[in-house]
Symmetry: C2
Subunit: 123 residues, 2 copies
């Protein structure tokens, strides 16, 4: 891709950011609720697991949503796509140039969520 993130894609990314962010938060809250209800752990074990999980999720959230600028747009979009918080339809609205960059980055950085055998440094 050329150096500049295209204006049309940039507007689209800013439009989709709050939707994707809400989706990630919704998923995290669901995971938190499941963990709180995990009968296989003591309350203290659940609490510790909650801390580990929420710290890991916050790293993911920061990597996809913090400091969104045109110069970081491909990184952020790649992270959003990798986290699975953009639908195929939404991703399909980006230009072919941007999509190619993101898909190539994902190929290099690792498979999209669901296809990853290892998800973080902690695993």
């Amino acid at each position: 891709m050329s150096r500049d993130f295209p204006e049309r894609d940039w507007r689209l990314l800013r439009e989709l950011k709050p939707i994707a962010l809400d989706r990630l938060c919704q998923r995290t809250l669901g995971e938190v609720q499941a963990l709180c209800a995990d009968a296989g752990k003591t309350n203290h074990q659940r609490y510790l697991a909650l801390w580990d999980m929420i710290r890991e999720r916050d790293d993911e959230l920061a990597g996809a949503f913090d400091d969104l600028r045109r110069s970081t747009a491909v990184w952020r979009l790649t992270a959003m796509r990798q986290l699975g918080v953009l639908t195929d339809d939404e991703f399909g609205r980006f230009s072919e140039e941007v999509r190619d960059s993101v898909l190539t980055a994902i190929e290099i950085l690792g498979a999209a969520r669901g296809g990853r055998s290892k998800r973080s440094k902690k695993e």
Copy 2:
């Protein structure tokens, strides 16, 4: 109270620590679940509120349970009592000397949980 935390009280504190810790974690998990289900907030607002809450609770937990030694015992017991994670019956099992120290400390540091008008530096 004399300089040394009495042996009998020290054994009792170590016996009650895991019970009080479990109680604090249980209460925190309940608060987390209520927050996750708060329909008055967006998913992102809930997520941010979750972060704030869990950080605050972790400070409380550390103040009451981390680094438990005889030299920190009155501090830790005071924090546990202030957090309301020891019942009156459990607290009543400590020697009068220890109880007096704790109650005096609570009087100086602020009312027990429930009686506090302000709970932390964040409020």
